[in-house]
Amino acid sequence: MDLFSRMLGSRESSSKNIAKERLRLVLVHDRSNISPQLLESLKEDMVDVITNYMEIDRNNMEVNLSSDDNSVTLVANIPVIKLKRLSVSNRGL
């Protein structure tokens, strides 16, 4: 019984670990006062700016807040498809 329960307890998918992971994520958002909608609109604005300079893969980009110990970091992972040639007219945009 003891061994059995220990095996259950150490499983990655035990519901306690799911609870902790979900809490961790939800608290990162709560504590930084940034709602999912706000993050989404930030993402849109970033896309607008970046596409002036390069072609990016919108469907596979990720923008998330992550936390380590006491700080929150904005992590953007944006695949670049093609770089634009930087000309004077581009800069002017």
Partner: protein, 265 residues
Amino acid sequence: MGETIVITSGKGGVGKTTTTANIGTALASMGYKVVLIDTDIGLRNLDVVMGLENRIVFDLVDVANGNCRLKQALIKDKRFENLVLLPAAQTKDKTAVTPEQLKELCDQLREEFDYVLLDCPAGIEQGFRNAIAGADWGIVVTTPEVSAVRDADRIIGLLEASELRNPKLIINRLRPSMVKRGDMMDINDMIDILAVDLLGVVPEDEMIVVSTNKGEPVVLDKNSLAGQAYRNIAKRITGGDVPLINLEEEHGFVNKLKKLFSFKN
């Protein structure tokens, strides 16, 4: 000068009122002069948990509005004469009193009592603002659930923003058997996530339901594990150094036998 402590949680139904009643009764049983204030105007319940619902004449709103003297509204407990309750009004709403009135009331009460315990309503609106206004520090009650811990985190942030530094955590309704099989967050998980000091852990206990049915706080039941946990919490509030109850072991007959024959540690 007494201490005023607010018992809060954000989420409803995690045990604020039960915690207030039991800590208050435990402190009174230790000889301290204690007043319990139910600040949940419109949804009062501390009176029924204490078994004092039939003695209410005046309430918090009457006191705040000067309809009666403070002394007239304080209901003496059945068991301890050094324990009194100031009930909430049932027919008004949270806006019937202001944070300033609560603060003034707490300052008045702390002149006479060793401990002023404020039972806070659920939520973060005016009821919460009222309850924390006169408090020196806060106790945050949570259960080992995602929703309750999330709300506790929010409340801790709001308490600190209101200059109530270093709130202390009570983990309520912990089920050791579920923790053991990995289906419930354990004490350390919650302490890590919330980053606050732990005041105590109260195990799930059917005796809470029984005692609430009767209107007798469970701390009066010497055989209840939850009662023991609340007595320990009261001792810690008064500065005592009491270790957590070991909830790992089952409290069945076989284990009691085992305990009897094992060495004392």
